[in-house]
């Protein structure tokens, strides 16, 4: 396995094992997840990207760890909630200056290997941005997973939510989003927080998109972004890590590429970067994209 990149938010330390998925091994320290991922997942502020990770790796993984266990607690309760024995065998990720040790093998890195997760000042100010943002909104409606939050952009897509649970979910999301944009903002955020299926519930992905949008607006929106983040926090370490990065304008590679493409002239680039974003998770990329789109399109948080 060879190193492709290491995120710019990864600090030195010993990170205990947290969970393992098909394309990622997660380690946790102080409510922060650092992930060793394959190239398919790609660059991120807290990602270490290794080429060949997937081929080298592991069996199917089913479950992750309870965060209490992952914190290294020695309580009985924590011990009980540790994941399977195979996972307990995973060694911690050790990161020191210019070097990290993953699964017993040392990898060296330099500053050049660091993935830069921020945008340069002025990104999003291009005259093409509004036009491309419109195109992005259209692509969300036509190309995203049927059960993503893109139904907020196109009523007809609500028909994809058929079971009793799904219909109630869609109603709650619609209510939360209407509160965010037209009512009590933080009440709306609290309504959306933790709402939906999966590792990072759809509502959290939407809020992350909203935070990225706010951050793109500039320093004037930082206060609001902090309030949104505080309202959205939960015990879900995946979501919390993701939301915190979004609040601070730290972007994973696919999102950064999309924002850069929105500022360029080429519609083709926007399409490709949108496809790439929509491939994230089951609905995660689309949910995040919907939050991002609505925030910028509605001028949310603009002074």
């Amino acid at each position: 396995m060879t190193l492709v990149s290491i995120g710019d938010q990864i600090e030195e330390g010993v990170y205990p094992f947290h969970s393992r998925f098909r394309r990622a091994v997660n380690f946790q320290q102080n409510d922060r997840l650092v992930s060793v991922v394959d190239e398919g997942v790609g660059d991120g502020p807290l990602n270490i990207v290794l080429q060949g990770l997937q081929e080298s790796a592991f069996e199917q993984l089913l479950v992750g760890a309870d965060r209490r266990a992952a914190r290294g607690s020695s309580t009985r309760r924590a011990q009980r909630s540790r994941p399977t024995s195979r996972m307990n065998c995973a060694a911690p990720l050790e990161i020191s200056e210019g070097k990290f040790v993953f699964e017993g093998r040392a990898y060296r890195f330099t500053q050049e290997d660091r993935y830069c997760s921020t945008l340069e000042a002025g990104a999003g100010l291009s005259p093409h941005f509004r036009h491309n943002l419109f195109l992005f909104g259209k692509l969300l409606q036509t190309s995203s997973h049927p059960k993503s939050l893109a139904f907020l952009l196109n009523d007809q897509r609500t028909d994809n939510f058929r079971s009793g649970f799904e219909r109630t979910f869609a109603e709650q999301v619609r209510y939360g989003v209407s509160q965010i944009f037209f009512g009590d903002r933080l009440k709306g955020v609290r309504t959306l927080s933790g709402c939906g299926l999966g590792l990072t519930p759809s509502g959290d992905d939407f809020i992350a998109g909203l935070l990225i949008g706010l951050n793109l607006r500039g320093t004037g929106s930082r206060g609001l972004a902090n309030q949104v983040f505080a309202a959205a926090r939960s015990d879900n370490v995946y979501s919390d890590t993701f939301l915190d990065l979004a609040r601070r304008g730290r972007l994973f590679g696919r999102m950064k590429n999309l924002i850069l493409a929105l500022g360029r002239e080429s519609e083709d680039d926007v399409r490709k970067c949108t496809e790439s974003l929509l491939a994230v998770g089951g609905t995660s990329g689309a949910d995040l994209g919907t939050g991002f789109f609505l925030t910028l399109w509605n001028g949310f948080g603009a002074s």
Partner: protein, 510 residues
């Protein structure tokens, strides 16, 4: 109603897995609704509102997975909970294929499968050429599914492959069958002794399916990409594929299918064909048949089958002439049902070759044919969204596929158009192709039946099905469902076009 729940501590699954398992649970006998979600406060509120909140969920935390089932009886609820583990395992297999490795680079793929001799490349066009060259340099044949590969790159790749004794199928090659393995959009056909070279994707699918449905079989079916037979590329791979089939011991008859090649390329193909000691059946769609050869995909396929079976091509001509008489009877019956003012055909195709073949056949039967992808005598349609007189639309063209799946996968756009066309008082016939096989929609009958049933009240719906009973969708099953919905199902695109054109001819004589 009984509501039961399970809490799974610290269990994480992706949303697609949870959706899939939730749906499976909800579909079980005696189960009214089910959901699998993380135990966040918001999710508990949703479960409560939808009548799925089990009492025990109040103790669950954000990182716990909740399984909720609402059922008619306790037994049904318990039975549903008992299968959750199995369903999760199955769903995970579907989403991540646990036993398979998913390399993310060509090098990675070669490490996993060092004996591989073909790479199928489907990445953005601008990168596809370089990936294809890397594959060739590693001694692999290439199927290049990607489009938008620059012409210069295609020429470079094909010249390199030619020198190296390798094949490059594509760019924009959507289908091939190599050593019996269907690649990309392809069908499950019998293996046999007919080798196919095609620069026409759905054309290859149609001839291979007809060959198989006639009881014969295919040795190899090689796609070259439509641009290969243009002047610039010079038919490099068409010629190399032809040579390969000429040498192939399993292949006894060779079938060539393409839109008309450039004259220089045609000259080279003709010269090479003369040196081959196996029977070669050719169809250059719309190029005319001066030598009396086949004029449709169906005729070409049947001719290859006849020749491979030791019969004469004339037998095929007789068989099709008899079928034409039957089609005229059906046309008369359908024309009689149409009201005054209904006089046009509206062809809505997912396959580009079918769209071209329809135009060629219509040009011999009716006038005033318009298309967004004109072929033969058809005129260019000004606005692809608005039909004009007799209109034939290729819904696979870029204007319809940018930002949405191909119409063979997603029927939404075509279904809407079918209903719109049926509302037009001038429409008499709606003509459709239904393409089965790998890559295509898994259940086209379910997608089309309702729409056909509605459209059938006002117009005749004529369709062809390209596929076999071995395809995942099963041709016979699809045919029964479409007939039940009211469609007139023809055995080939050519037959469907003959029938549709015949109805319009008769209506024009009123």
């Amino acid at each position: 109603m009984i509501v039961v729940g399970q809490i799974r501590k610290g269990a994480y699954f992706d949303s697609v897995t949870l959706m899939r398992v939730g749906k499976e649970l909800a579909g079980r006998k005696g189960v009214a609704d089910a959901a699998m979600v993380m135990g966040t406060k918001s999710n508990k509120a949703i479960l409560n509102s939808s009548g799925l909140l089990a009492a025990r969920f109040k103790d669950a935390g954000d990182t716990d997975l909740l399984v909720a089932v609402k059922a008619d009886t306790q037994a049904a609820a318990d039975a549903a909970l008992a299968v959750v583990d199995g369903l999760l395992k199955q769903a995970l297999k579907k989403t991540s294929v646990s036993s398979e490795v998913h390399p993310t680079s060509l090098d990675g793929a070669l490490r996993v499968m060092p004996d591989a001799n073909l790479a199928l490349i489907s990445v953005a066009g601008r990168y596809a050429g370089d990936e294809a060259m890397r594959a060739l340099e590693n001694g692999l044949h290439v199927m290049l599914f990607s489009d938008n590969v620059p012409l210069e790159k295609e020429i470079e790749l094909k010249k390199f492959a030619q020198k190296s004794g390798l094949l490059v199928m594509g760019p924009d090659c959507g289908t091939a069958i190599i050593n019996g393995i269907p690649l990309a959009f392809a069908n499950v056909v019998n293996r046999g002794n007919i080798g196919i070279v095609a620069a026409a994707g759905t054309g290859l699918q149609e001839v291979s399916c007809i060959i198989s449905n006639e009881g014969a079989g295919v040795s190899q079916a090689i796609g070259t990409g439509g641009r290969d037979v243009k002047k610039e590329v010079g038919g490099i791979m068409f010629l190399e594929s032809l040579k390969a089939l000429a040498k192939d011991q399993t292949t006894r008859v060779i079938l060539l299918v393409s839109k008309p090649p450039h004259s220089e390329v045609l000259r080279r193909i003709t010269k090479l064909v003369k040196t081959i000691r196996k029977p070669v059946v050719t169809l250059f769609i719309g190029a005319g048949t001066r030598g009396g050869g086949p004029s449709t995909l169906e005729e070409a396929a049947l001719t290859a089958v006849a020749v491979a079976g030791g019969k004469k091509p004339e037998d095929v001509t007789k068989k099709l002439a008899a079928r034409d008489a039957e089609l005229r009877q059906i046309a008369a019956r359908e024309a009689a049902k149409r009201k005054r003012g209904q006089k046009y055909v509206r062809g809505l195709f997912s396959g580009g070759t079918f769209c071209a073949e329809a135009q060629i056949l219509f040009s011999r039967m009716i006038s005033g044919v318009y298309s967004n992808a004109p072929a033969g005598k058809a005129k260019h349609l000004k606005n692809s969204l608005n039909s004009q007189k007799n209109t034939v639309i290729d819904l696979g063209e870029d204007e319809f596929t940018v930002g949405r799946p191909h119409p063979m996968i997603d029927y939404t756009l075509r279904n809407r158009r079918i209903l719109d066309e049926a509302q037009d008082p001038a429409t008499a016939v709606i003509l459709l192709d239904v393409v089965l096989g790998y890559g295509s929609h898994p259940d086209p009958a379910a997608e089309l039946s309702g729409v056909i049933r509605q459209a059938r009240k006002k117009v005749a719906v004529v369709c062809s099905i390209t596929g076999t009973d071995k395809d995942p969708q099963n041709r016979s099953r699809v045919e029964v469902a479409l007939r039940k919905a009211g469609a007139i199902v023809m055995p080939s695109n050519a037959a469907a076009c003959q029938l549709a054109g015949g109805i319009i001819q008769l209506l024009g004589r009123r």
